[in-house]
């Protein structure tokens, strides 16, 4: 199922995100996803997230699909040139993966193989364009594909709370021009900023899923403020997390914060995307508390 069909039906689309392991055993990931993420629309599978080498997104997507979940293949341009990316997209279509999220990707220097060659032959915009070309039955060099072309729901990301929000809006427009059909955002902790962003972003007419991270501690919030682009946790939330460490550790404070942001932003967006970062078990609680 392509998630664009749900957006078209006016549904509020809920997705979450899992990261493949650094190893060959996906049993734990699949079990957790089945237990906690079966009730939502689809599950993103990250592509060597933060440039840390792990098992690939595509095989993990297949493992999730095999147990009845709808995976979204994240595809970055960091590790593959245009030949490998097109090849991966064709493989995904053959394996029945219909939802993709096209990203530029973090720089190799950010991860655990900092000496690796950063590829970036394509970027998020040209990757979306590439997927559209394949859907038309031709590859990037204009050669015809054999047989029925693939068809994807093509997603992209945008960072609404970035200090460079104007540059982000320009890029968002370029992604729409290139074929993006839905957007997931970087984690939002400032509802007002998100709502102001959506006032400008709605002109593009594409569904936007609010990005949410469940904050685990005051330390994590401060770390994100210092190191994670486009993420800013307001001081009052850091204070709330610091006020009762046991409550924060048990996830109660984080779940409350995440649910509150979803409630405040829900009227302005078309879905929510939860990046649980290992707290997949908390996703049902967040949604319940947010009234979804």
């Amino acid at each position: 199922m392509r998630i664009t069909e749900l957006f078209d039906n006016g549904e509020f689309v809920v997705t979450a995100e899992v990261g493949p392991p650094k190893g060959i055993h996906v049993g734990h990931l699949v079990d957790e996803a089945k237990e906690y993420l079966s009730g939502i629309t689809a599950v993103n599978v990250t592509d060597n997230q933060s440039s840390v080498m792990r098992m690939g997104s595509l095989p993990t997507c297949v493992a999730l699909k095999n147990v009845g979940l709808t995976p979204i293949l994240q595809l970055t341009c960091r590790d593959r040139n245009r030949i490998a990316l097109q090849s991966e997209l064709l493989g995904a279509a053959m394996l029945g993966i219909e939802n993709i999220l096209c990203l530029t990707g973090d720089h190799t220097k950010m991860g655990d193989h900092p000496g690796a060659k950063p590829v970036f032959d394509l970027d998020s915009v040209s990757l979306l364009h590439t997927a559209c070309q394949l859907e038309k039955g031709v590859d990037l060099s204009g050669q015809a594909l054999v047989g029925e072309p693939p068809k994807f729901a093509k997603g992209a990301v945008v960072s609404p709370c970035s200090n460079s929000v104007d540059a982000q809006l320009v890029k968002m427009e370029r992604k729409v021009m290139a074929g993006a059909e839905y957007f997931q955002t970087q984690a939002v902790f400032d509802s007002e900023k998100f709502i102001r962003f959506m006032e400008k972003a709605k002109q593009f007419g594409k569904p936007v899923q609010l990005g949410v991270i469940i904050p685990k501690s005051a330390g994590m919030a401060k770390f994100m403020n210092n190191h994670v682009a486009g993420v800013h946790v307001p001081q009052r939330m850091i204070d709330a997390l610091a006020a009762d460490k046991e409550r924060a550790k048990a996830g109660i404070t984080g779940v409350e914060i995440a649910a509150q942001i979803i409630k405040e932003c829900r009227p302005y967006c078309q879905g929510v995307h939860i990046m649980a970062l290992g707290w997949e078990a908390k996703v049902p609680e967040v949604l319940k508390l947010a009234g979804i």
Binding site: N163, S164, A167, R174
Partner: protein, 207 residues
């Protein structure tokens, strides 16, 4: 070593607006410059009455030399709406930075040749990619100012205007965004999807 080649005349013409000052750099001994073609282009533009002045010089990659050489031409540059720079990519960036409020257009593509590269100040860099983007980016090179060399806009990795890779490095695309905004040229970012052509990377690889 590098070779500069004049861009297609139509490509240059459609970038020019109003009156034009033409800055030509015959460069250093490491540069092969299309002198005759440049001369023809200048004559054509002059015949059309749109040229406020021309300066043929060398080493415009050096901001101090450039400032010195242009002293006598400031009035003519002030009268011009477009500064057309026929030089390697470094020269264009030096000129664009000297005149941040001026529409600066590169007239050449710069190709790499094996061997010694010209002596250039470190703050501007040209990858000699053979398909100069500087007309789309306000004279700031996305290949060298962005650590991912992105050609379709900013990634999500900028924090407080700095690059995710190096907190001392300004995000190149934020600089481009601000430059284009101050020039009133944000429309340049609505250009078609850009795909780099690595087959033009070297003059020697060309057919």
């Amino acid at each position: 070593m590098l070779i500069t080649e004049l861009k297609n005349k139509e490509v240059i013409q459609c970038q020019l607006r109003g009156k034009v000052f033409v800055l030509v750099c015959h460069g250093c001994k490491e540069v092969h410059f299309p002198e005759q073609e440049a001369e023809e282009l200048i004559q054509e533009l002059s015949a059309a009455g749109s040229v406020t002045g021309t300066l043929v010089t060398d080493y415009i990659c050096n901001p101090e030399i450039l400032t010195q050489r242009l002293q006598k031409h400031e009035a003519a540059i002030g009268d011009a709406d477009t500064l057309l720079v026929l030089s390697c990519g470094v020269g264009v960036q030096t000129a664009a930075d000297k005149y941040p409020g001026k529409r600066v257009i590169p007239g050449c593509d710069t190709y790499r040749l094996p061997g010694f590269q010209g002596v250039t100040p470190l703050q501007y860099d040209c990858q000699q990619c053979g398909e100069c983007y500087l007309n789309l980016t306000g004279g700031i090179c996305p290949l060298t100012a962005c650590s991912k060399s992105l050609v379709n806009g900013q990634c999500g990795g900028a924090k407080n205007g700095k690059c995710e890779v190096d907190p001392n490095m300004d995000c190149g695309w934020e600089r481009i965004q601000k430059r284009l905004e101050s020039l009133g040229r944000l429309d340049a970012l609505k250009c078609p999807v850009q795909l780099r052509n690595y087959a033009t990377d070297s003059e020697l690889d060309k057919e």
